[in-house]
């Protein structure tokens, strides 16, 4: 399968040898620097975290509403605090490196997803707009192989961007926060049970969930790119749906329409099942994976069928 590797190599070159890719990295780094700078400005000393936690716990127990300056999520259970105190696990403060990584991933993963939507949404259509599709498809290679290489290139780029994102977040926050790592355990409540995992395992779960999200959104943009032959349309529509999706889901579920749970937007975040924070209570991890698989197969079938059958006329 040397040829398959060579085809992937070609597609990767066409991504990273363009200015666009480097501009994306600069934007990503810029946003992380900005976030880290804001956090570093108000960084506090957490050596007496036990007292802080104790205070917060009693406040919570007394009137059952969290104080305004709570460092933790307002819905945290006092039992969780007790566990942290008993096992000497400090809270994941945002002004420590791990805390910052945990906090900033919400923002940076969205940015990486938008980048992947842009790359996936243009990887086929740009060949048409550049006119290079003709010289690309007169090679002694079946079209589906060329398309597969393109999709794999999108996935590989997604993994690379996520890794770069993690590395940049680690290094930049390390520089700004003096490599104060913070807690190396992550504790959370799921139902009535306390879960205690290593921070690395927690990040691995976030990473895996983000990757699934990336692949589905990338596949969606990829399908539009194959269908429309028009860069701007494919990217525009994918990014629009990426942001409009949650709104649509919100509207549908507020109307108590059950169809919302079958939309892929609602199912792309698999991490919600780790902490049990999923939006609709009747969905499960298995359900979401099944929905995503169906969509993924549909996107791929449409892409490969269109690309293999289409006459190159322009």
């Amino acid at each position: 399968m040397i040829r398959a590797w060579q085809l992937l190599h070609n597609e990767m070159i066409k991504i990273y040898k363009r200015k666009m890719f480097w501009i994306m990295l600069i934007i990503l780094a810029g946003i992380i620097v900005l976030l880290a700078a804001v956090v570093a400005k108000d960084a506090e000393d957490h050596s007496n975290w036990r007292q802080e936690l104790q205070k917060e716990m009693t406040a919570k127990q007394s009137n059952d509403s969290s104080p305004d300056d709570s460092l933790m999520m307002p819905n945290e259970d006092p039992a969780l605090y007790q566990y942290q105190l008993d096992h000497n696990i400090p809270p994941l403060y945002g002004d420590t490196v791990f805390g910052f990584m945990n906090m900033s991933h919400d923002i940076t993963f969205v940015i990486v997803t938008v980048f992947i939507v842009i790359i996936g949404g243009s990887i086929v259509s740009q060949e048409y707009s550049w006119g290079t599709i003709k010289l690309l498809l007169i090679r002694p290679i079946h079209r589906w192989k060329i398309l597969l290489a393109k999709f794999l290139a999108v996935v590989v780029t997604g993994v690379v961007l996520l890794l770069i994102d993690l590395a940049l977040t680690f290094i930049i926050s390390g520089i700004f926060l003096g490599f104060d790592m913070g807690a190396d355990r992550y504790v959370y409540m799921k139902g009535n049970h306390i879960h205690d995992v290593s921070i690395l395992y927690h990040f691995l779960q976030l990473f895996g969930s983000a990757l699934v999200d990336l692949i589905i959104m990338g596949a969606f943009a990829f399908m539009l790119s194959t269908l429309f032959k028009n860069n701007a349309l494919a990217i525009g529509l994918s990014v629009f749906l990426f942001f409009a999706g949650p709104v649509v889901v919100g509207i549908l579920s507020s109307l108590h329409l059950d169809v919302a749970k079958y939309l892929f937007f609602l199912n792309t975040d698999l991490y919600q099942y780790v902490e049990g924070t999923h939006f609709l209570k009747d969905t499960t991890l298995g359900f979401s994976i099944a929905v995503l698989l169906v969509y993924f197969i549909l996107f791929m079938l449409v892409s490969f069928y269109t690309f293999a059958k289409r006459d190159v006329t322009d």
Binding site: N10, K14, G131, L135
Partner: protein, 303 residues
């Protein structure tokens, strides 16, 4: 000469309309075959089907014995192509562009890449980004990518589009050399007759999706010519020839007797006229130029 390309009953229908109808022809190694016709005749569609860019409604195209339809991965190994302007990746260097295509063919060495680069005279510029290239340089890079994998056939759709006269001349000389020295079969389309006339050995004329004429550009001896005899007694001479040479078409035209016959027939016709007391003042073969034939074939709508 063996046929490297065999096109058989090739047909393309789009929405019930036949764009290309039942084309059958061969291309031999060492031959430059021109594909001539007005814009919209179906030349590009035919070539795109041969290159696997468009599907065939009916018929097939065999290259080196492999069907483009069913054995694409074998058939297209032997074909190099340029479809209109060769669009390259402008953000890559010429070298990276060639490497890109090299990876898509089996068994193309790095040496071969440098060889074709030198062949088209781009050695000094090959590391530069393609966006800095002139149109002529891009065209030459296009030829380099078409030749990279040592093809047996070149299929070139309007390759001179956008080239200046010097560029056209350069390309023309180069293509003739490739056909002669390397034995390549070259199939080249154009809507400009003058261009094809200078490059090609043979020409297919396409109109409304059908081949309406297939002509050799360098006229062979045995072909039927129009021969004009300048004679005094026109009607008598015509009647005489009609009775004596039943195989030969004779017509009286503009005070001249126009005979359609092979070159070898001229002395015999002349002798018969003279022996029967008809004064012959002049004999002239009217060679039809390709242009006349082209205009004739396409009903005068050449441009």
């Amino acid at each position: 000469m063996s046929a490297v390309v065999e096109v058989r009953q090739l047909t393309k229908r789009i929405k019930g309309k036949e764009i290309v109808k039942d084309l059958t022809f061969d291309i031999h190694s060492g031959e430059v075959l021109g594909f001539l016709g007005p814009n919209g005749a179906g030349k590009t569609t035919t070539m795109r089907m041969m290159l696997g860019l468009m599907s065939m409604s009916e018929g097939d195209c065999l290259i080196n014995g492999y069907s483009v339809k069913t054995r694409k991965e074998e058939a297209l190994q032997y074909v190099g192509g340029i479809v209109e302007n060769p669009e390259m990746y402008k953000f890559l260097s010429g070298y990276d562009n060639l490497m890109h295509y090299k990876r898509m063919h089996p068994n193309v060495s790095e040496d071969r890449l440098h060889q074709v680069t030198a062949l088209v005279g781009l050695t000094d510029a090959i590391k530069r980004k393609v966006k800095t290239y002139s149109l002529g340089m891009r065209q030459r890079l296009g030829i380099a990518q078409a030749l990279l994998h040592n093809p047996k056939v070149l299929i070139l759709d309007e390759p001179t589009n956008g080239l200046d006269p010097a560029g056209i001349r350069e390309l023309r000389d180069y293509l003739r050399k490739l056909a002669k020295e390397e034995g390549l079969a070259i199939f080249i389309s154009s809507h400009l007759l003058s261009e094809v006339e200078l490059i090609c050995d043979r020409v297919l004329i396409l109109q409304k999706g059908q081949i309406i004429d297939s002509q050799s550009v360098r006229e062979p001896e045995a072909e039927i010519l129009e021969i004009a005899f300048e004679v005094d007694k026109l009607e008598e001479a015509a009647a005489l020839l009609r009775s004596n040479f039943p195989d030969i078409a004779v017509k009286a035209h503009d005070e001249q007797l126009v005979v359609e016959a092979e070159r070898e027939a001229i002395p015999a016709v002349n002798r018969r006229l003279v022996e029967n007391g008809i004064g012959v003042y002049g004999i002239q073969t009217v060679r039809k130029s390709l242009e006349e034939r082209f205009l004739e074939a396409t009903g005068g709508r050449a441009e």
